[in-house]
């Protein structure tokens, strides 16, 4: 039973801290909206265990000019892939 976690606020919100406390191996974390500001912050990304895949929504990165600084750990995906991720996982948990 895997879970997709979405985070839609900037690192100032501490949502990632709350999320990683309950994340399980095989889960995925997807940064959307203002959450994509996490994608350039290595200090934040390093707190996520290796067994969790990390994604960022490309459209939100383009709007906010953060795509060029996105870390390697993060895979940029588009809205169609977002839908696929939702289907691949048993549940979606929104952190907002």
């Amino acid at each position: 039973m895997s879970c997709l976690h979405t985070i839609n606020r900037s690192p100032d919100s501490n949502l990632l801290e709350s999320c990683i406390k309950v994340v399980n191996a095989g889960d995925a974390i997807l940064f959307i909206e203002d959450g994509v500001y996490h994608c350039a912050s290595l200090a934040n990304l390093q707190t996520i265990v290796e067994t969790v895949r990390v994604y960022g929504l490309r459209e939100d990165m383009l709007a906010r000019a953060t795509l060029p600084k996105t870390a390697e750990r993060v895979e940029a995906i588009d809205t169609n892939q977002f839908v696929e991720l939702c289907c691949e996982h048993d549940k979606v948990v929104s952190w907002f």
Binding site: R9, S10, D12, Y37, E59, L62, A63, R64, A65
Partner: protein, 129 residues
């Protein structure tokens, strides 16, 4: 005896806007800008400060079209057209978010927190959004 003219309210006041929100996620950044532009139209003395997540508004290369929004970065470039020349970005906020001054839109003056507190002290009104 002639009464002194009524001067309780200065004709021109100094207003500082502190914008602390990232663009696009909610509309606070837009609202703050709208208030500042309106104040400038009424010839008030306007200071505009980007603090905390507000500095994300200043990144070059934004493209609101990707999420069907107006590009806020373009709107910020109109500040000078409205006569708002005191536009500041807080250095600590930039540093904390690993944003280099070369990543920023042109026309920003970098200041530290002491300077921000001076601005607040010397303003008649402060909007913090």
């Amino acid at each position: 005896m002639i009464d002194k003219p009524y001067t309780a309210r200065p004709a021109k006041s100094s207003i500082t806007f502190i914008s602390r929100s990232a663009p696009y996620g909610h509309n606070r950044a837009n609202l703050c800008l709208d208030m500042a532009l309106a104040s400038a139209v009424f010839e008030q003395d306007v200071n505009y400060v980007f603090l905390d997540d507000g500095v994300y508004q200043l990144l070059k290369g934004q493209d609101g079209a990707a999420i069907q929004s107006k590009t806020l970065g373009n709107a910020l470039e109109t500040l000078a057209l409205y006569g708002i020349e005191s536009v500041y970005a807080d250095q600590q906020s930039l540093k904390g978010r690993s944003i280099d001054s070369s990543d920023l839109l042109p026309g920003m003056q970098l200041i530290d927190s002491d300077a921000v507190s001076k601005l607040i002290e010397n303003s008649d009104t402060v909007f913090n959004l």
